[in-house]
């Protein structure tokens, strides 16, 4: 009886149950992944369907907000969000990148780096509402700034610091050690080596990280609820004047607004936020891709 080897029935049975289990598992795993995509698609779809008409109405984008009657616009909220993002980035990039340089270039694995990493990890786990409480207690009350742009920016800077540090450190560590040795070998000092070779090579990575941080700043609301006004008819005129950013204002519109078209405004604000964040993600993806595609010359 050549060929057909006699396989005992029991092991043949066990073989088939394993086979079916495998296909079932594959189907389930495919389903789980597709559910995630479906959820994302339906959320983005719903927001755009509901909000696009509102967002592209110039009166909405450029109009003045209304406290009581309908037809309010969101221009001051957009401006506040932009000023807030600029101010936060101006505070956080030097400190975050500076800290990353220290961690990647100067400090080896020492007690200090472990301490800084622990600090960064704990900051990254603190819920954003607790950052809101902290911002209220320190910047708004203790420093007496009152709810304003600077209080919001300082709070968001601390909230996003760990992320900026991590992405910048990864970008710095990705720069080949041979560049450092070559530069030092020519008699350059450590700081010259960092400034002239390492940093320029890491800039694309740092910039991509920075753009993702901008997305997080625009989307943050819990940390701003107590540190900035939720509703203001004017954009901030100075660092310490108040203005409502768009994300916290969306929460205000959902929970406290009394204008008859509050629902429509909420749809518009949600769509505006999502479009801004989608655009930022695309820009970050595009920059990262373009940089990998050609090992570009840097600085």
């Amino acid at each position: 009886m050549m060929g057909e080897m006699h396989v005992p029935a029991r092991s043949r049975a066990r073989k088939t149950t394993a086979k079916t289990a495998d296909t079932v598992a594959t189907v389930v795993l495919w389903a789980l992944a597709l559910v995630c995509l479906a959820v994302l698609g339906s959320i983005i779809g719903y927001i755009l369907v509901k909000g696009l008409a509102v967002v592209f109405d110039p009166k909405f984008i450029l109009g003045k907000p209304q406290a009581i009657n309908a037809g309010g616009g969101i221009l001051p909220f957009l401006l506040s969000s932009i000023y807030l993002t600029l101010l936060t980035m101006v505070i956080i990039m030097p400190i975050g990148v500076g800290a990353a340089i220290y961690m990647a270039e100067f400090a080896g694995e020492s007690r200090i780096t472990r301490l800084v990493r622990f600090g960064a990890d704990s900051l990254a786990t603190v819920p954003s509402i607790v950052f809101g409480l902290f911002g209220l207690a320190l910047f708004v009350v203790a420093f007496g700034m009152g709810p304003c742009l600077m209080a919001g920016a300082l709070t968001l800077a601390l909230l996003n610091l760990p992320a900026v540090m991590r992405t910048s450190e990864e970008a710095l560590r990705a720069v080949p050690a041979s560049y450092r040795e070559a530069s030092l070998g020519l008699g350059a000092s450590r700081w010259q080596t960092i400034r002239k070779v390492v940093l320029p090579s890491a800039v694309p990575g740092i910039t991509t990280g920075g753009i993702l941080t901008i997305g997080r700043i625009l989307g943050e609301s819990a940390a701003l609820v107590f540190t900035m006004p939720l509703f203001a008819t004017k954009a901030p005129t100075s660092l310490f004047s108040g203005g409502a950013a768009i994300a916290p204002n969306l929460w205000y519109t959902l929970t406290e607004a009394i204008t008859p078209d509050a629902q429509r405004i909420a749809q518009g604000e949600a769509a505006a936020l999502v479009i801004l964040i989608l655009a930022l993600n695309l820009v970050a993806r595009f920059l990262a891709h373009r940089y990998q595609a050609r090992q570009g010359m840097v600085g």
């Binding site: 389930v28 995630c36 959320i43 800084v116 509402i129 607790v130 601390l158 989307g219 930022l280």
Partner: protein, 301 residues
């Protein structure tokens, strides 16, 4: 002036190098300073309530009935929001956990390159969506749907769990994917070599050896869910009763803080800071848990 002299003049004095190093050190220490400041100020603002209203009335009482005109005489028990937070987080992990871990397994073991890339892009986008938008979707879509399906008011633990389940997917999937990718290729080859099916290889070889990473992913997911404010506040109903059923309306620590902080003063406001302190302590516990889990693997490796 020969080039050598010009060079001598321009050579950076040693101390400028030292100054740069010191400033960068100070920048690095801002994280440590930051977490100390956060803990200090949240704790400091909690003291008035703890002193005026007393520990037991806050940590052991379930009645939350602030008195606006005379704050010190109000009831500020946080057991209800604490229970709400735990219930919503548990619900979130039950829904989001399997979804996220499953997707991570899919991405690392099964996904064809193109679909894999698409799912990863999708997860990144999901991470980018602000939590207030999740809240809005919850309020406008999920709550009415649940109201019809469960014939209740729609708000409550179930709605919060769905929203949190979706929101923790990016965090858990990314970390779980990294953990699964660190499993050495040889394990997989060996298992396949013995005629095991892909699923047997996954649950017999790959999952056990990535156990710690997956645990860390879930713990971080829990941390993310506990800290969520805006999305939860909009769908949980903010009632002051214990979550006794899936569809019962309740409140969480975060929703209590953001709902009441606006007009609170004195002991009422300070009681909300106490809830902030509890959230902070939970975050620290999560950090220690993760260090415990990762240190175990480091010792074992």
């Amino acid at each position: 002036m020969t080039r050598r002299d010009a060079a001598a003049v321009a050579k950076p004095a040693l101390n400028s190098e030292w100054i740069v190093r010191k400033t960068l050190f100070v920048f690095a220490m801002t994280t440590v300073l930051g977490i100390i400041l956060v803990i200090f100020f949240v704790a400091r603002e909690s003291i008035p309530a703890l002193r005026q209203v007393g520990w037991s009335n806050i940590f052991l009482s379930a009645t939350w009935n602030p008195n606006v005109s005379n704050p010190a005489t109000g009831h500020y028990g946080l057991l209800v929001p604490l229970a709400g937070t735990l219930a919503a987080t548990l619900g979130g992990i039950i829904i989001g956990g399997p979804l996220a871990i499953g997707t991570a397994i899919f991405l690392t073991q099964i996904a064809p390159p193109r679909t894999g890339k698409l799912v990863v892009r999708g997860i990144e986008l999901l991470a980018g969506i602000p939590s207030v938008i999740f809240g809005w979707i919850g309020l406008v879509v999920l709550v009415p749907m649940l109201a019809r399906v469960t014939n209740t008011q729609g708000y409550g633990i179930l709605a919060a769990s769905f929203i949190l389940g979706i929101m923790i997917i990016p965090t858990v999937t990314t970390i779980a994917k990294d953990a699964l990718e660190t499993v050495p290729e040889e394990y997989k080859q060996a298992s396949f070599g013995m005629g095991a099916t892909r699923w047997q290889t996954i649950y017999k070889v790959i999952l056990p050896s990535a156990k710690e990473g997956l645990l860390v992913a879930l713990i971080l997911g829990i941390g993310r869910a506990i800290g969520e404010t805006m999305a939860v506040q909009l769908v949980i109903g903010n009632a002051r009763q214990f979550p006794n059923s899936l569809t019962s309306v309740t409140s969480t620590l975060t929703s209590r803080i953001v709902t009441d902080m606006g007009e609170s003063t004195g002991a009422f406001r300070s009681a909300l800071f106490v809830q902030g302190l509890v959230l902070l302590i939970m975050a620290m516990v999560i950090i220690l848990l993760i260090r415990l889990v990762t240190r175990k693997t480091v010792k074992a490796a």
